[in-house]
């Protein structure tokens, strides 16, 4: 039974992503033909082989681990801080008046510029990167949470109150579930920016991590290794996004908007 159902699925994937396979195919041909210097564009097959080499015999796992450690600590802390902050902004006009302009101003400022300052404070090890990731991902999560919490329909709160819910509990029972879709949206953006932030910061100044791997490989012109690093980074980005989307689909199965 299984064999039968896999073939149409493979066919479907091919036809949907034909442009991607096409590009990989052309890539392999161009690379092997020698039109482009093999250092500049190593063949896809060679990259795949090297990927497994580094995975089992090299330090790929180590570097990936370092990057992921930094990213998830930064993103996790940012979420823990930003969601309550966003909700507080929606509930208290004092907090809102203070934070809202700061958030608005912070948005167009390229926060990578603050990375050197973070290095001044925390050195080149993990903490400066975690701090950068924290700052980068906090912004979208706070803003999204705030936007969700502030528009909670009054009549829903009134309904809950007339059914005996006390003021204090309204936050947990009504506002939080309704803000959840927005929190998810903000987290998705946070996921993307924290990915960018961790790799960028590692490429600029780091002794370990996938970004560092990329830079150290480029210095000795090992382009295959560079592509392995890119491949790993891409894979992680896709993986997290897919996991995120399926979690969101489950958690928000009640939400009327199909494409959120």
């Amino acid at each position: 039974m299984k064999k039968k159902s896999i073939l149409p699925a493979i066919k479907k994937t091919f036809s949907q992503y034909y442009s991607v396979f096409l590009i990989f195919f052309i890539w392999e041909i161009i690379s092997r033909s020698g039109v482009v210097h093999p250092v500049l564009l190593p063949p896809v097959s060679k990259i795949i082989v090297r990927f497994f080499e580094l995975l089992f015999f090299g330090k790929l796992v180590y570097h990936t681990g370092q990057s992921m450690l930094r990213m998830w600590i930064g993103l996790g802390l940012a979420t823990l801080v930003s969601v309550p902050l966003g909700i507080m902004m929606a509930r208290s006009s004092i907090i809102r008046s203070f934070l809202e302009p700061l958030l608005g101003l912070g948005f167009p400022i390229p926060k990578i510029g603050i990375y050197p300052v973070l290095i001044i404070f925390f050195g080149v090890l993990h903490f400066s990167k975690i701090a950068l990731i924290f700052i980068e991902s906090a912004f979208p999560i706070i803003m999204a949470t705030f936007n969700g919490a502030i528009f909670v329909e009054q009549k829903l709160i009134w309904s809950a109150e007339s059914m005996g819910t006390r003021r204090r509990k309204i936050l947990w029972k009504i506002i939080l579930p309704l803000t959840l879709p927005h929190i998810f949206m903000g987290f998705r953006v946070g996921l993307i920016v924290s990915l960018i932030a961790v790799f960028l910061s590692e490429m600029i100044a780091s002794a370990e991590g996938l970004g560092h791997l990329m830079m150290s490989s480029s210095r000795v012109f090992r382009s295959t290794d560079m592509f392995v690093a890119i491949g790993m980074i891409s894979f992680l980005g896709l993986l997290f996004d897919r996991i995120f989307l399926s979690l969101r689909r489950k958690a928000l199965k009640w939400h009327p908007e199909a494409t959120l």
Binding site: E100, V117, I119, F121
Partner: protein, 249 residues
Amino acid sequence: MLKENRIFYTVLSTSIIFALWEGLSRTGIITSEILPPFTTSFYGSLQLIASDEFSKHLLASSYRWAIGFSISLVLSIPIGIYMARSKRVYNFFDPLLTLTYPVPKAAMIPILMLWMGAGDLSKVTVIVIGCFIPLVISAYHGAQGVETSIIWSAKAMGMGERAVLFRIILPASLPTIFSGIRMALAISLIVVLGSEMIARQSGLGYYLFNSLEMGLYQTTYSVLIIISGIGLFLDAIFSLIMRKVLVWA
């Protein structure tokens, strides 16, 4: 919050932050090597802007950014609009976009530097790559969201395909496109700065990181202030343009 209130609170909040900065530094809670006072740093910024050496780098960054950003606008927006009009174009680009969406384009910087050297070309290219997705997606959604009833009305009044495109679809999708441009603006600044910090040859990013490596921390803060100022300035100008163009929205 009313408009007057908003300006008031913005000034208030930023003043508090600057005062905090100044206070922490001057009182020595954080040593002034690590955190020079705000006033000193700001004064340093002014001096930098006046200096020739810095202006050279500032110009280099501006030049790269302007070219890269313009190219990405001219390239991405038409593709996005075309995707909304032609199913075949859509089917070609959509899987590429979905796959590359969660992938940080910053990872391309070293490879591009390998191919194109550490000069302007690689930076311009990475700006184009970085801004491509948000611009294409917003252009697509903008063009797609134009109500079919409006398009049909126009056609019933005898408008040809080209006229419909330029006089109906384009104006109607502008609000969405503009918000995409705003996001691409922020991304382009990060990309140009980041790539300069990696390449370490010239430009604001180089200058910033170089001051760190040389231990000239005061300069680091001064450059940071300038960079932030530029980001805010560009965004403000863009918002102004947006408001003028979209006065009907």
